[in-house]
């Protein structure tokens, strides 16, 4: 039984330049305690997908056109604001990319940490403060009793991200959405933060949705992966399968683009062309204009995500028909890697 199941989510932004179809028919499920990675380049709809689950889409200009996101009996996309508020921070939490801007500069760490406890659990300030100190210690901040009285600007980036994690987990949620939590940090701190999230996940039995564009991190961190392109999922499956047996040319090209240590002196592989303009309605395969396996049929036929091997889905028409074989490029170092790829 899936903890969270998202079905046919469509989030459109109605801008002056036209309707931007940021997320266009995304479906996935998240099981209790598992880590689901969502990878894709900038603007592929990874973040918008997750923001819509927490009601963080600015409306207008954004609009959730269709879809459902079931968390138990609640549909996060359709429930009343008050009901969503009881889920936010209590059952589903999020940590953001940039720890430098996600803490309020005018409030002490203590004031920010106790807020969710005071609001959701109606705790007294002193009880909440005790819990907050414990939660800071749990994310590896020493001398938490003293540091809790400091202001965010007195913390380093890595420590702020720890505070963010403590804040997100203080209400013991079931799901943690991590929106590129390590992108803004330097490499050594990245590894620490990833390790911390893993450790908290084991401890609390959290399900984690991990948004990133870093394939190395995905390989080392996630059990399953959704590869997103132009607002839709083009390939989904277990991490190892995604890397060993790519079933979509986009995924295969992504893996070819990872710089490999053993191939010195060669130009880096890049995917030709640009991501599609999302203000245009795309019926056929969105990757067709950049795909090296493209045939006329790809540009005309509507594609859907289909299971082509056990628990491994692809949206590539030609792969579904068994017309092409893809290989995983130099994915090996990524799988074995420590998540320090940039």
């Amino acid at each position: 039984m899936a903890l969270l199941s998202v079905d046919d989510l469509r989030v459109y932004f109605y801008t002056r330049a036209g309707v931007v179809r940021a997320v266009d028919g995304v479906s996935f499920a998240l099981n209790p305690g598992e880590t689901l990675g969502i990878v894709g380049e900038s603007g592929s709809g990874k973040s918008v997908t997750c923001y819509s689950l927490l009601g963080l889409i600015p409306q207008p200009p954004g609009k959730i056109v269709s879809g459902s996101a079931r968390l138990g009996k609640i549909d996060l996309l359709k429930c009343a604001r008050e009901q969503l508020r009881r889920v936010q921070g209590k059952r589903v939490s999020i940590i953001f990319q940039d720890p430098m801007t996600s803490l309020n500069p005018y409030l002490r760490i203590s004031d920010q940490l106790v807020e969710p406890l005071q609001v959701h659990d109606k705790m007294t300030r002193s009880a909440a403060l005790k819990r907050a100190i414990t939660s800071l210690e749990e994310v590896g901040i020493q001398d938490a009793g003293r540091r809790i009285n400091l202001y965010p600007h007195q913390f380093s980036g890595g420590m702020r991200q720890r505070v963010m994690i403590a804040m997100a987990l203080i209400g013991h949620p079931e799901i943690l959405i991590a929106d590129e939590p390590t992108t803004a940090l330097d490499v050594t701190v990245q590894a620490q933060i990833l390790e911390l999230i893993k450790q908290r996940q084991r401890h609390l039995g959290l399900a984690v949705i991990f948004i990133t564009h870093d394939l190395g991190v995905v390989a080392s961190f996630c059990k399953r992966v959704n590869v997103m392109y132009a607002g839709r999922i083009v390939e989904a499956g277990y991490t190892e399968e995604i890397f060993r047996h790519p079933m979509h040319p986009y995924n295969a090209s992504l893996q070819h683009s990872i710089p490999a240590l053993h191939q010195k002196g060669q130009p880096l592989f890049t995917i030709p062309g640009m991501p599609p303009d999302l203000t245009q309605e795309i019926k056929a395969c969105p990757f067709a204009p950049r795909c090296s396996y493209v045939v006329d049929r790809c540009r005309e036929t509507e594609v859907v995500l289909k299971e082509s091997a056990r628990a491994h889905q692809t949206a590539c028409l030609r792969y579904q028909n068994g017309e092409i074989q893809l290989n995983g490029g130099n994915a090996e170092p990524a799988i074995a890697g420590s998540g320090t790829e940039n």
Binding site: V87, I94, S102, Y106, D111, P116, V119
Partner: protein
Amino acid sequence: MLTVTAEPEILTAERGTSLWKDAWFRLRKNHGAILGLCVFCGITLICLFGPFFTGYTYEYTQLSLKASAPLEPIILRTETRANTEPKKDYLSLTSLDGEFIEKSASERDAITKSIASGTPYQEGKMSYQLSSQKHLFGTDPLGRDLLTRVLVGGRISLAVGFAATLVSVLIGVVWGAIAGFAGGKTDDVMMRFADFLYALPFTVIVILLMVLFGKNFVLLFVAIGCVEWLNMARIVRGQIISLKHREFVEAAISLGLPNYRILFRHLIPNVMSSIIIYATLTVPNVMLLEALLSFLGLGVQPPLSSWGVLIDEGARTMQTSLWLLIFPGLFFSLALFSLNFLGDGLRDALDPKSSKD
């Protein structure tokens, strides 16, 4: 791997320095602003407590002592009368001249001089002697002590300045914050209403309010505050809009905090520096408005005075008694200057990015 090595410089701070403290450190280095702060506090204190020590009340009238110049010697004239108590009057040195109108100019001069130097003079029933009464700033055309009036007027002007600013800040911040945070149609309606008020001529509104509620001193606070909040609302709205999509606000939303909490605990403290800066610059504005209204006869009613009223009175008699204009004007401009310096300093201190260097 999971522990963070202690950074000593963090541990030195027990409670942590807030951004307010940082701003205070920056402000302290700004000599102009500190001078402004001191001058302004000084003026406020003098206005508050000064009137207790001047020896006169603001409404005490000595009609015989009209428009005596600052520190001009005051002459006590005693008229001995049969049966009744002698009649005592105070005269200024210049009006003493008129007492001996039948004498020649040089004689009058000699008498005046001798009286001024302390020698009593008697003529008929009248006796003249130098009195100990002093008017540091002179007196106004009704013989009221100008120093007392300037200080009492200062109380009124400052009170109007602060109270009206407070009213404008309260209305403006709440209005602007709600409009900015709600966005969409609510924002449109609220800000169009503000635009509508903005388009109405200010004096007409105040006159209307005065007509509706009567010429009331307290009402003046409210009337000016009601008009001055528009700019504050616009500033706060703009700031809130620029802040509300920042990540820490989204983080607060994602933690399920209610809107009022996000607005008043997370957003408004971040706008507070702009509010303070603008409020400091609103006080002199409001004081000017009060002066304008008093000048037009709509503000403070006699015998109460304000700096605006006193300047108005002084301007009418500036050809004969310039001090009536100079002293209230001096206090008024000093207060305005110091507030403006303080406001500028606060802007630099609270928003270091905006300062030139």
